[in-house]
Symmetry: C2
């Protein structure tokens, strides 16, 4: 076996561990929590299907590649639910170390290009990264809407918090998509008893 | 919500069910069987990382898209393990009906283009589809090698069967990759007692 293939297979076998990282969100039928591997598949598909909702001219193939690797650092760093309290700076440092270790398993040229794409996603400055971040934020919202609020009650999430934490980021990359979801979100919260919030 | 976004979200919510389709193969640590959603993520990553092992000039972005949707029909048709007895013609008919229903949830232009890409994968005639099929065959072999034979003993798989059912297809799209894996496969079977086969 060549060194190159051996390194590629080591990386791919390590990546398998992402299937064992649990997320806060459930499957669309609420039957269990989803893992970050299947989540990564689902949002790559989201980016493709919803590509025509992007704000700017984005390269959907680059977005798909970003989303395929965007959560790999969770193998070391775990998933941080958006509505949970967290130390953002400490978490970012752990994720940087995870990226160095995990992408470092690849042959050097691929280690460099995969890491550069992950850095671009994290920085959320290019049109591709902004759209990728929108899609990453949107999928849990839909999973929660499909399961009567899903994890929102457990985290005591309000409509205003959703707008601030999720809406602004989704609208930045896909405004029509957020407008469409906001209708459904407002309808769901309007049907809750006022004491819920 | 526009009709277009509504149709796109219906398709994406339906696709979520792929995370509940169980495959014969396990995770790389053997802890549980994997589902077809996380499998689809993993082999899209395989295609990207191993793209430079392709036999012909392939468009890796098209291969990634093929692999993201290649198993969606299993939502209706289930997974058919390669080493299990099966009625191939009956299974193909069920999968055709599944493709019509599931891709038909998309807006018409996307329904047509997604279906065309799935048909191309199934036909396994273009360079992109041949490489995609190689990658789809390779991942379970690696999962089994990582877990001391994995599901091979349960299905009474022999080295000759692997060569015939898997090797020929992998070698068609990625010959150097199969040569590398064959070394590991032969070493694994050589270490088994002769009565195993
Ligand atoms: Ca994420």
């Amino acid at each position: 076996m060549t060194d190159r293939i051996a390194a590629q297979l080591r990386f791919l076998t390590e990546a398998c561990k992402l299937k064992s990282v649990q997320r806060a969100t459930t499957l669309c039928d609420g039957s269990r929590r989803e893992n970050s591997g299947e989540h990564s598949w689902h949002i790559a598909l989201y980016a493709w299907v919803l590509g025509d909702q992007a704000q700017a001219d984005v390269d959907i193939d680059r977005v798909i590649r970003m989303l395929l690797i965007h959560d790999l650092v969770e193998i070391d760093a775990g998933d941080t639910p958006i509505h949970a309290a967290q130390d953002a700076a400490a978490q970012a440092k752990i994720e940087q170390m995870a990226a160095t270790r995990i992408f470092g398993l690849l042959p050097p040229d691929q280690a460099q290009s995969f890491r550069a794409l992950w850095d671009e996603f994290e920085a959320a400055e290019t049109a591709d990264a902004i759209f990728a971040k929108s899609i990453d934020r949107v999928q849990p919202v839909i999973a929660n809407l499909e399961t009567d609020g899903g994890t929102w009650p457990a985290y005591h999430v309000t409509a205003a918090q959703l707008e601030a934490r999720v809406g602004t980021k989704v609208a930045r990359g896909a405004p029509a998509l957020w407008a469409a979801l906001k209708q459904r979100i407002d309808a769901w919260f309007a049907a809750r008893p006022p004491s819920f919030e």
